[in-house]
């Protein structure tokens, strides 16, 4: 069952994709860029068409389809929520967008750059925060951020200054930035992960369950920061989450995945109204989730078997 509440994006022509660079301002409906006197369509912040990924789990068995023909288009500045049960393919999709997994079928473009052909260009535009903050835990936040800054070609002194400023905004004081990350709580570590991503000024930020496992205070801090990211940093965000209130509050549009397929897509308001009209019940994202994934959220969270069980095997 697939329900799409908006028309699917049209593919931009090859010539446009080759020469249109990252626009320096948010895209508005009907917006166009002029390049060498021509009017060309502004590329999507993220364009995925027919993305498919399979994993060979056992030799003599057919491959498991983790992602099946997913298509989505994000305009600049959009926050797109991706919901789905554990094993539905959320994290696999994020990894495909990150270039950490190769595509079996389909294509992905980030601001007009093909993720396969222009790998380095895409890498410069994106960053990712995953559910488990990945750091050298013996190193301090400042040392980890300095490493990231150099990888992304930033000036070391400027990066240090900005790191302290960003960490400060996230509630990590200057006296703590020199201590090993292993001494910090999980919530603090996740804030450092977000600071690291922010330091590189990604045009597209991939957030894979950034608030899972955080205490309510830390969760609110991180959610507030995600909301700020769009306004202050003009970032386009893909957010996977199990927190439906979070998705409702933060996301402009939501894609629900089930067994690797897009089953519905729309704004939170549209989805809630659609499900309430077609299936009855209250207008809530939980109702949407239950309707399209066929399982309760509580049961899903309790399993806590990461999205990528298939990958791990």
């Amino acid at each position: 069952m697939t329900a799409t509440l908006t028309p699917q994006p049209k593919r931009t022509d090859d010539r446009a994709r080759r020469i249109v660079l990252l626009p320096d301002r948010p895209v508005r409906p009907g917006d166009r860029d002029t390049v060498v006197g021509e009017r060309l369509p502004v590329p999507a912040a993220l364009l995925a068409e027919g993305v498919t990924k399979r994993f060979q789990v056992e030799r003599k068995k057919p491959p498991v389809i983790a992602i099946a023909g997913v298509t989505m288009r994000l305009d600049r500045g959009e926050i797109r929520g991706v919901l789905g049960a554990n094993g539905s393919g959320k994290s696999t999709l994020i990894r495909l967008f990150s270039g950490l997994l190769t595509l079996d079928e389909g294509r992905v473009e980030v601001f007009g750059h093909d993720i396969v052909r222009d790998e380095l260009a895409v890498k410069r535009l994106i960053n990712r925060v995953s559910v488990d903050a990945a750091f050298f835990k013996k190193l301090s936040p400042l040392e980890n951020l300095a490493f990231a800054a150099r990888l992304y070609g930033l000036d070391a002194r400027r990066a240090k200054r900005e790191s302290i400023e960003i960490l400060g905004r996230l509630g990590i004081s200057e006296k703590r930035v020199g201590r090993p990350i292993e001494q910090m709580s999980r919530g603090m570590q996740q804030k450092v992960a977000i600071a690291r991503a922010l330091l590189t000024s990604p045009a597209l930020l991939l957030l894979d369950e950034p608030t899972t496992g955080l205490d309510p205070r830390s969760k609110l801090d991180v959610q507030g920061f995600i909301a700020d990211l769009r306004t202050t940093h003009d970032a386009t965000i893909v957010l996977t989450t199990h927190d439906l209130d979070e998705a409702d509050r933060l996301c402009d549009r939501i894609t629900v995945l089930d067994r690797g397929r897009t089953v519905v897509e729309g704004t939170p308001t549209e989805l809630k109204a659609l499900v309430a009209a077609d299936h009855g019940g209250t207008e809530s994202l939980e109702n949407v989730f239950m309707t399209y994934t066929g399982r309760s959220l509580d049961a899903d969270v309790e399993e806590d078997a990461d999205d990528d069980t298939t990958e791990r095997r």
Binding site: T92, R95, R124, R128, F147, L151, Y152, R312
Partner: protein, 266 residues
């Protein structure tokens, strides 16, 4: 030029990060250094026990230079394994950095670290045994170290692939490979005492030529010109193994991305 500057900056990122890690794990660094020093002293004391000055030199060179080569090998070969354990592998692989820049940074730090480590042990052993190096050809020994490092880097790059391909067993396989190199390269004995098939295998280990060249340079004062038979295999291995290592690493990375093996485990 801008690309080169960016890649150099990226290489330096790995040097700086590894330096910071060394600082943070200083307790372990001291422990490893003491263990390496004690090992080199213990082995070399066998020569003192036998009353043979030549044996003392031979064992000392074996212990010190094997330490140097194995530190380089471990650093490079375990680059991926460390990142996997720390959970940073995906982050590093996502960064806009060419793989050769990453491996260059890790390699340069490995060589620098190994040089300092080895120099310390060498000084202590020379003082401990009161060795006279006035007849040694130090330049030739340094050339063997340099050329040998390059070929060891190539092997290290290929060994680094193993933790990419085999999530859990890769690091174990790297360790086994290092052990085999120790066995067949004549570190503490002449390769002539090995069974025939092992002697054949020893010809494929750069350590065999490095140790032979360094021993002749330091014990007999033989100059580089007379050791061409040990130099050319190292040059050939260096020229062949580094591009081969980079190519193989690229293939392994693509395989890992196809099969989902970059993901954190544990």
């Amino acid at each position: 030029m801008a690309i080169l500057a960016h890649e150099m900056k990226a290489s330096f990122a790995f040097i700086e990060r590894n330096f910071n890690l060394t600082k943070r794990y200083w307790g372990w660094e001291v422990a490893f250094l003491v263990y390496a020093l004690a090992g080199a002293l213990s082995v070399t004391l066998i020569g003192a026990d036998q009353g043979s000055r030549r044996l003392i030199f031979s064992l000392m060179i074996g212990a010190i230079f094997w330490n140097y080569l194995s530190v380089i090998f471990s650093f490079i070969a375990e680059t991926i394994a460390w990142e996997r354990w720390e959970g940073t592998l995906e982050y590093t692989m996502m960064a806009p950095v060419r793989r050769y820049s990453q491996l260059l940074g890790s390699t340069l730090y490995a060589i620098l670290y190994a040089l300092i480590h080895t120099a310390f042990i060498l000084v202590v052993l020379v003082l401990f045994f009161g060795l006279d190096l006035s007849h040694a050809d130090l330049v030739t020994a340094a050339i063997f170290m340099l050329v040998g490092s390059v070929s060891f880097v190539g092997i290290g790059m290929m060994a680094a692939i193993l933790p990419l391909l085999y999530v859990e067993r890769g690091a174990q396989m790297t360790f086994v490979l290092q052990s085999v190199l120790l066995l067949i390269s004549g570190v503490y004995y002449s390769i002539d005492v090995l069974p025939g098939w092992m002697q054949v295998a020893s010809r494929f280990s750069p350590a065999t030529y490095i140790l032979d060249g360094v021993r002749k340079a330091l014990i007999e004062g033989v100059s580089i010109g007379a050791l061409w038979g040990d130099v050319w295999p190292l040059v050939v291995m260096g020229i062949a193994l580094i591009p081969l290592g980079l190519w193989a690493f690229g293939r392994a990375e693509r395989y890992a991305k196809r099969t989902g093996k970059l993901k954190r485990v544990g």
